[in-house]
């Protein structure tokens, strides 16, 4: 059970692409920073549907994406801390 942390948009880095290549169904993916933008793109959103995905609420609000991403689970930093301990490890791609 791995928590995959994605911090950059797929237009900036290969983080999300690489993570999706190795993630398994029991893993979770947390989107922070610019990576939250990827949910707006159908191709990424479809691939992410296979996994348990959450976005960092502050990063969503900061970018004015709250209503656009209303179907995505959003968590705060305290929940991020708890999540990082709930999983066996955190991989920051």
């Amino acid at each position: 059970m791995i928590l995959h942390l994605i911090q950059s948009s797929p237009e900036q880095s290969s983080a999300l692409k690489t993570c999706l290549r190795y993630a398994t169904q029991s893993d979770s993916i947390l989107l922070t920073g610019n990576s939250v933008n990827c949910l707006l793109k159908q191709a990424w959103a479809t691939q992410l549907k296979e996994y348990n995905v959450a976005a960092l609420q502050e990063d969503v609000i900061a970018r004015g994406l709250t209503s656009l991403l209303k179907d995505t689970k959003q968590i705060n930093y305290d929940e991020f801390v708890s999540l990082s301990l709930k999983f066996n490890k955190v991989i920051s791609w």
Binding site: I2, S14, T18, Y22, K89, I91
Partner: protein, 118 residues
């Protein structure tokens, strides 16, 4: 002792990621950690023969890869999908490595204690 997997995902020479990842790999091994390496995406190009990084002002850290066995770093995984994407074959790589399918890599990532990506 922990099992650490150091992941290289960036191509060599254009940034310091590969160099600094290798520094951490060797150091972790010398501190008695069980270190494994994974090369994925364009980082598999790190393993090509006949490189000349000094000609572009970069350090030839590639030469250090030969020393991995001295540090007891025996597990070096290379993503077969990335090799295929770049049209490479095992013969073009300079050190003995294991080509691994994404599912095998996924189970390796699950088995180690911590994973650090460069």
């Amino acid at each position: 002792m922990k099992k650490l997997c150091i992941v290289f995902k960036q191509p060599p020479h254009g940034t310091a990621h590969g160099r600094e990842g290798l520094d951490l790999s060797l150091l972790s091994a010398s501190f008695e950690q069980e270190v494994s390496l994974l090369f994925t995406n364009e980082a598999v190009l790190t393993l090509l023969k006949d490189q000349d990084p000094e000609s572009i002002g970069a350090k030839d850290y590639i030469a250090t890869l030969g020393a991995l066995p001295l540090y007891d770093i025996d597990t070096v995984l290379v993503c077969s999908e990335s090799i295929q994407e770049l049209g490479l074959s095992e013969q073009e790589l300079r050190i003995g490595v294991t080509l691994s399918a994404p599912e095998e890599i996924a189970s390796h990532l699950n088995a180690v204690d911590e994973v650090i990506v460069f």
